[in-house]
Amino acid sequence: MQPEKFYYDNKIVRNFGIATVVWGIIGMLVGLIIAMQLYKPEMNMGNQYTTFGRIRPLHTNAVIFAFVGNAIFMGIYYSLQRLLKARMFSDVLSKIHFWGWQLIIVSAVITLPLGITTSHEYAELEWPIDILITLIWVVFGINMFGTIFKRRERHLYVAIWFYIATFVTIAVLHIVNSVELPVSLTKSYMVYAGVQDALVQWWYGHNAVAFFLTTPYLGMMYYFLPKMANRPIYSYKLSILHFWALIFIYIWAGPHHLLYTTLPGWAQSLGVAFSIMLIAPSWGGMINGLLTLRGAWDKVRDDVVLKFMVVGLTAYGMATFEGPMLSLKQINAFAHFSDWIIAHVHVGALGWNGFLTFAILYWLIPRIYQTELFSKKLASFHFWIGTLGILFYVVPMYWAGFTQGLMLKEFTPEGILKYPNFLETTLRIIPMHVMRSIGGTMYLVGVIAMAYNLARTMMQGSLVANEAAQAMPLEPFKKSDTELAWHRRLERKPIKFMIISLLVILVGTFVELMPTLTISSNIPTIASVKPYTPLELQGRDLYIREGCSNCHSQTVRPFRSETERYGEYSKAGEFVYDHPFLWGSKRTGPDLAREGSKYPDAWHYNHLMDPRSMSPGSIMPDYDWLITQKLDTSLTVAKINAMRTLGVPYAPGYEKVANRDLDKQAKGIADNLAKDHIKVSSDKEIVAIIAYLQRLGMDIKANKTPEK
C-alpha cells in the first residue's frame, strides 16, 4: 500500500492564534479597567456604557470565550489534524467556524455595554446570540467529527478524548442554560425561576469552568507537552482513569456555588462531597504532565516554553486543590462572596489557561512560520513578569478576602456587629485592590510583549499555509485484530466514545437537576409572596440591565452576622417569580435581598444620583442617567404575557391595565419624592428602580410587622 500525501491546514490555526492574542489583550485591558473602578469610581467614565456592572461581564466573556475560546480552537485545529493524520474535514466549515466565533464575540462587545444581558453569569448573551453560538458549535462539531471519520490513525489519542468530552458537554450545558422565553429581540426571561434557575445556572457555570477552561486545555496539554519536551506520556493508565473520573465527577460539583442558600440541603451536600472527590481526578492531569517531564527537567531550565507549561500545570494543581477546600462549608461560609474567590479563579485563569496558551503560541507560531522565535529574551521577560504579575495579583486578593470576610462576621461583646456599615469593610480593602491592579498591569505588559514578539516572528518567517504530510491510509479493521483491553477497543469508535461520555455527564446532571426542577416539595411556597407589579418588573429589568447583581447579592444566608446585618435569612418560596434569579456571586457592596423600606425613597434617589452624597467614600458609580432617561413601557404588555406563560399568576387580561397600574404606582413614588423637595417626573427610569428596590424582601417583612 502506498502512503497518501495530504496537507495540514495551518492558516486556520494561525487565524485562531492571532484572534487569541488580540482578544486576550482586549479582555485583559477591560479587566484592568474594572479593577481600577473598584477603587476609583471615576474610572466608570461617567457614562452608562462603561460602568462596572455592564463591562464586568464583558471582561469575563472576552477572556473566557474570546481569549481562551480562540486558543482552544487554535490548539485543537493544530493537534487534531496531526493526531489523526488528516486535514480538517472541510475548509469551508473551518472558515465559518472562525468567522462565526468572531461574530459572536463582536456581538458580545456591542450588546453587553448596551445592557443587553440575561444576567446569567458567563452566559449573559441574549437569545439571538445564544442561537448563533449553538449553530457555530454544531459547525465545530461536524468539522471535528468529520476529521475523525476520515482519519488515518486507528485509535484516538487521549487529547481527542478530552476534545470530544468538551464538545458534547458544552453543547448540553449551553442548551439547558439558555432556555429563555423571548420578549423582544434583545430581551428574554429565563424559563426557570429562583432556586431552580440558580441551580441550572451554577450547574452550567461550574461546568463551563470544567469543560471550557479545563478539559480542552488538558487535551492540549497531552498533545503539546510531550511534543515540547520530546518525552513519552508518563502513564496511559492514569490518562484513562483521570479522564473518566474527571468528567463523571465534575458535573456533580455545581451546587458548591450555592452553599447556605435556599437550595435543598441534600443537593448542597452532594456538591460538597463530589467536590472533594474531584481532587484526585483533577490532579491526575497535573501529575501525568509533570511526570512526563521526568528526565527532561534540565530542558525546563533553558526552555521558556516548558517554563510556562510547568507554572501553568502547577497553577492548575493549586486551583484544583483550593476549589474543593473552598467548597467545605466552614471555609465557604466566609470565603464565598469575597475576594478570595476572585483570587482563586485568577490562579486558574492567569496561571493555567494563560500560561498554557502562551506556551503553545510560542511553540507553534515559529513552527508554522518555519522560523525561530524572534526573541527568546523577550519571551523570558514575559515569563517572569507574568509569574510576578500573578503573584502580585493573587496575594493582595487573598488578603482582601480574608480581611473583609472576617470583618463582616465580627461581633462586639454587646452582641452587635462590629462593622455594621458594609462600606467600612470595603474601604479597608482598597489598598489590596490597588495592588491587584498593579499585578494585573504586569501580567498585561507581558502579554503585550508576547504580541510584539510573535508579530516580529511572523514577519521574519513565512506561513506554511498548507503543510505537506503523508501517512498510510487506514486499512479496514480485521476481526482477527481484536484487542483485549476494553478501552483500547473504545478508542477506535468515536461515536460510541461520544455517546458514553454524554451518558457519563448526564448521570450527575439528572440526579442533581431533576428533583429540584420537578418535585415541588423542594421549594416550599409562601402565601404572602406576590408577583411583581408592572413598575417593579420594569425596575427589575433595569436592575438586570445595569448589572447590579455583579456587585450586590440578593440572598441572605442563615448566619447570625447576616441576619443581623440584612434581616431574616432568605426562603426558597420568596424567589418563585424571579425569572431569572438575581442572587449574584460576589458582594462588592451589601446584600439587597431585604432592601425594601430600609431607606426612604429620597435616600435611594440621592444615592443613585451620587452614591457618595449618602455614603461618603462609596465606590459605586453614579447612575444619574436613570433620572433623565424615560422608562420604556412599550414592552409592559409583552413582559406580563411572557411572565404569565412562565407560570407567574397575573390575572387574565391584566396586561391591558398593567401600564395604568404602572403609572399610578410611579405617580405615588414621584409624589413621595416631591415631599422631600425632589422634583422628578414619574415616567423616568429612576422611579421604576426605586419601586423595585423598595419591594425587595417585603413579602416576608409584611408578615412580620404585627410583631413590633
Binding site: 498533545y223 472533594i276 511526570l291 472576617l406 495592588m435 447570625r560 431607606y599 422631600d676
Partner: protein
Amino acid sequence: MRYLKGILLLGLVFAFNPAKAADDSLLPADVMNYIGYGLIVFTLILFVVVLLVVLRAFNVLTKVVLKSQGYTEEQIAAEMKPSKKEKKDNSQVWNKLLSLRPLSEEKDLLMEHEYDGIQELDNPTPSWFMFLFYSTIVFAVCYLLIYHVFGIGQLQYDEYKTEVAQADIAKKEYLSKQANRVDETTVKLTKDPAVLASGQAIFKQNCVVCHGQHAEGKVGPNLTDDFWLHGNKINDLFKTIKYGVLTKGMLSWEKTLSPKQISDVANYVKSLHGTNPPNPKEPQGIKMLDVDSTKAVTKALKKA
C-alpha cells in the same frame, strides 16, 4: 530570623485583626490604607527576596557539601551545571514514594503505539495517587452519612439556631456584667463632657450625611431649632434614633449602635439646641419647649 518572624507576625496581625487600629481610632482610615499598601508591597517583595535567598542558599550549600566530600573546584562547577551530564539517580526514596520506575527501565514500558510521534508509557497509576483518590471517596461517603443518614452534622438551619442561641447566651452574660444597659425608658439627660464628646464622634460619623455638619439639617431636619417631629425629650430622641421613623426617612440604628452609644448621641443632640448654625433648614414639626432643660431650670429655681 527572629526579626523576620516578628515582621511577618505584625503583618498577620494587621491582616487578620484589622479591627484593632480602628478601634482605638489612633489612625484615620486613609493612613491605615497607606500602611496597608506598604505592608502588601513589603510582603510581596519579601516573598521574592526570600525565594532568591533560598535559591542562593541551596547553591552555596551544594558547594559546601560537595567540598566537604573532597570534590575539586572543577568538579563542583561541573556538578552545578548538571545539564551536561545526567545525575546519579540518588533519589530512590523519592521514586518509591511516587512509585516511579527508574528512567533506565523506561524502554520496557513504552507502548507500541504512537501518535504524531508521541509515545505513551505503561506506568501504573501512582499508589499514593490511588490512596488520595480512595480517601476522598471515603470522605465523601462519610460526609453524606454524617449529614443525611445519621443526622450527626447540623444542616444550615439547625446550625443557624445553634449559632444564635449561643450568641444570645454570651450576650446576656456580658450585658449582665455591664452597667450601660439603657433603653428609651431609663435613659438620662447629662452634660458630662465625656458623654458629649463620645456623642459628637458618633454624630460626625453617622449623622452628618443627612443632618449636616452642625445639625443644621439637610435631607433630615434641623436639630438645633425649637421644632421637632418626634418629640424633644431625651427619651423621645433615644427612641427615634433606636427604632427610626421610616416613613419620614429616619433610619433605625438599633443594629448599628450600642444602647450606650445611642444614649451618648442623643445627649449630644440635646446639647446642640439653640446653637444657631449657619444655613439652617426651614423648621419642621411643631414648636416644643425644652422640657428637660426647663425642668432643670425650674429645679434650680426651686432650690434657689
